[in-house]
């Protein structure tokens, strides 16, 4: 087990049956989200073409950036005539939430090699993060296989590339794919992941605060500040209630 984490990503022949199982499990548990992200990918591809990107440039952005919300925002800004530095700065701001996600995931990846961490970082989207951290937490203190997150993030990557290609190729002929209702697959999946986690009055309070803060910030502020602010508010609420409960237990 000591040498487990040291096997390279590219050496498929050293993958054990357990690794392959974890890879498949990561992929299958993320499947609803992979499908749910596809309308967004098609929308991104179509808007990118309408904004004047070539098909190659549209696909290259998905290959290299691999971040749905910021890519869609970037091509919408291009269409509106924004300058390149502004687009890059906005991309950075929208992706700041990854810092919180990476930090909260890091205790579960502490026995994974730095090389694996660099690969998994590229594959960390909202979807693969949530699926993987939920899986790792459910495992208790056992060994966390990086192959699970590789399957989860890798599946998202392939789905995202396919959807961007479709959007770029059908381009102008597609009427807003986000208006069909298929986009609901994403929040619906997240909802089914959220409900089983609300197991105590404290978590009811934490989720309520996160819901109120995120909705308010979503309406008032640009970008993805609503995710960061909801996280900060939820952490404060949770810690305050923990302290309050332990004080009450002492008296």
């Amino acid at each position: 087990m000591l040498h487990f984490g040291s096997c390279g990503v590219h050496t498929a022949e050293t993958m054990t049956a357990h690794d392959r199982h974890q890879l498949r499990l990561g992929l299958s548990q993320t499947l609803p989200l992979i499908l749910g992200a596809m309308p967004l990918g098609v929308a991104y591809g179509a808007v990118a073409i309408q904004a004047g990107l070539t098909v190659a440039e549209t696909v290259m952005m998905s290959l290299m950036v691999f971040a749905g919300a910021s890519q869609l925002m970037a091509v919408m800004m291009l269409q509106a005539g924004a300058s390149f530095p502004i687009i890059v700065i906005s991309t950075f701001l929208v992706n700041l939430r990854h810092l919180v996600m990476g930090l909260s995931l890091s205790p579960y990846l502490s026995d994974v090699t730095p090389r694996w961490q660099r690969v998994l970082a590229f594959a960390m989207t909202d979807e693969s993060y949530i699926t993987s951290i939920t899986h790792y937490r459910g495992q208790g203190d056992g060994h966390r296989s990086p192959y699970f997150m590789l399957g989860s993030g890798g599946g998202m990557y392939v789905g995202w590339l396919l959807a961007s290609c479709v959007g770029a190729l059908v381009g102008r002929s597609v009427s807003d794919p986000l208006a069909w209702g298929l986009d609901f697959a994403m929040p619906a999946t997240f909802l089914t992941m959220l409900l089983p986690q609300i197991v105590s009055p404290r978590l009811v309070a934490v989720v309520t605060v996160a819901a109120v803060v995120s909705v308010t910030a979503y309406v008032i502020l640009p970008g993805t500040w609503y995710i960061i602010l909801a996280t900060v508010a939820a952490v404060i609420t949770g810690m305050a209630l923990e302290t309050h409960e332990s004080r009450r237990a002492e008296t």
Binding site: V65, L182, F190, V215, V219, T231, G238
Partner: protein
């Protein structure tokens, strides 16, 4: 491919990857304070709530009342189905299916 667009895409890729890679390895390098680890326990549930409630309650980033907002009804269908059946796929499919049909009917 035009050079200036390649520069834009590479710059976007770099700033995105920096946000992803900066802290993912931090627990391997440093011993995290137990208080921080406890605080981080609330992050996934908070992010889930932030990925569900805003797009359901305020699609297009504007608050929409439940009477006129099909997403709220679709979310209720998914939640109730999930709590009754304990199964993820039927809950998602009923919610999405209901929304697609409602959209198609109201658009026709």
């Amino acid at each position: 491919m035009r050079p200036q667009f390649i520069v834009l895409i590479v710059a976007m890729a770099v700033v995105t990857y920096v946000t992803r890679v900066s802290l993912i390895g931090v627990a391997r390098q440093f011993e995290l304070h137990p208080l921080l680890i406890r605080a981080l326990e609330y992050v996934p549930v908070a992010i889930l709530a932030a990925l569900v409630f805003p797009v359901v309650v305020a699609p297009s980033r504007r608050l929409a009342l439940p009477f006129t907002n099909a997403y709220v009804w679709a979310a209720l269908v998914t939640a109730v189905t999930f709590m009754v059946t304990k199964r993820q796929v039927p809950a998602i499919m009923l919610g999405v299916g209901g929304l697609v049909i409602a959209r198609a009917l109201s658009g026709a």
